[in-house]
Symmetry: C2
Subunit: 236 residues, 2 copies
């Protein structure tokens, strides 16, 4: 794995590297080959998560995960570069699907609404409180120091993906317009904030309203914070 690429191409390629992974949503399509790959990937990811949740991350070897998924340890590494990556794969997939969801929104719709809907669409029906396993999973990821790094990495990559989708909607090129990136950063942060706060909610509340509220706080907060209309800006 050598390292010569043109600057910002690399990020894109890194994003694609993960984006290229078959999403679970590719269920319907394709031949046996593809379906098996998806299944294996999911198997591994789920096994990793489950084992880590109820046995403790440090007590799970790659070997265990592979065994639980019925493949050789070597195959594990064909899918994931580390057990951390395997554990975060679900988050990864969901994050990637948000970009897709955004592209699928009706053409005329205002960006804000599209983004909101795209995001919310990936967290189930509005009043749905996620099941125990999912909660335990997220909690594990957000709680375990060793996983936080991976989590942040996933979030970061998701930003690029989301930014591309936003740029498409705005009809601008990410090469010249920095706004999509920024917007994506804010939206991603809004999601994270909502999730964290949701994790802390003691009588557990449904996630989606919190998520919606977070995006609303984004909007409302910005209004109070934006500087006066840019007057005749300086240097370039």
């Amino acid at each position: 794995m050598l390292t010569a690429v043109t600057a910002a191409e690399a990020i894109t390629s890194a994003v694609e590297h993960l984006a290229r992974q078959p999403l679970a949503s590719a269920h319907e399509t394709a031949g046996l080959r593809e379906r098996k790959k998806v299944a294996t990937r999911q198997s591994l990811s789920e096994a990793a998560m489950r084992l880590a949740v109820d046995r403790g991350l440090d007590n799970v070897l790659v070997e265990d995960i592979a065994e639980a998924a019925g493949v050789s340890p070597r195959t594990f590494n064909n899918y994931f570069a580390s057990k951390y990556e395997a554990i975060c794969a679900l988050q990864q997939d969901r994050a990637m699907r948000i970009g897709q969801a955004l592209r699928a929104r009706p053409a005329g719709e205002p960006l804000w609404e599209s983004v909101t809907q795209a995001v919310l669409s990936q967290f189930g029906p509005a009043s749905h409180t996620p099941d125990k396993a999912w909660i335990a999973g997220i909690r594990l990821v957000v709680t375990t120091p060793a996983l936080i790094g991976e989590y942040l990495k996933v979030q970061g990559l998701a930003q690029y993906h989301l930014a591309e989708a936003i740029a498409e909607r705005l009809g601008t090129s990410p090469e010249t317009d920095m706004f999509p990136r920024i917007m994506a950063g804010a939206v991603t942060a809004a999601m994270q904030a909502a999730i964290e706060r949701w994790l802390r909610s003691d009588p557990p509340v449904p996630l989606v309203p919190l998520m919606r509220q977070s995006l609303r706080q984004f909007a409302d907060g910005m209004r109070g914070v934006l500087p006066a209309e840019t007057e005749l800006a300086d240097s370039g």
Copy 2:
């Protein structure tokens, strides 16, 4: 390294783990102990960066870095968990300093201005085009797949730090108000976007104006995108 912590506390603690690292700015203060630690850390980080830049990341062992810094390999791991971490330490430190800079802004100043100044203050004088080594360093980090992950992680942690500083300024608690997190996410993304674009600038341009422009694009972009004033919002 076991893993039982209360949910969102862990992130904070992870942030602190890195934030707690002595910053190079602690130069002036403290006894010999502290100063040596800072020196060693910096030594290691610089060695890692330099070696990676001109020899290729894959041709640098932890052992090499330790040797170049004049310490034992084991000591390297007392400071950094991986060579990637070592390489990104400079970015790490700068990111952390932005939070400090924000806290140091005059009390009455509007948030937007404070943030802008805090950010810009960490990228040198306005017309200063960074030196070759720094450029090569950033390019390496943003270009090498294996380092991108670490970079994103750093950015993610920086967000938390920045968010805390913003929350302080706004006088709200990050526990209940999600806006600081979101704002921090946007600002961080703005910085990244500016840096990437700057890396791509062919007749090299100074970074600071680009950074300023990015923040301006943030503001201007938001104005065009914000939804109509929230009317009587729903569920909570």
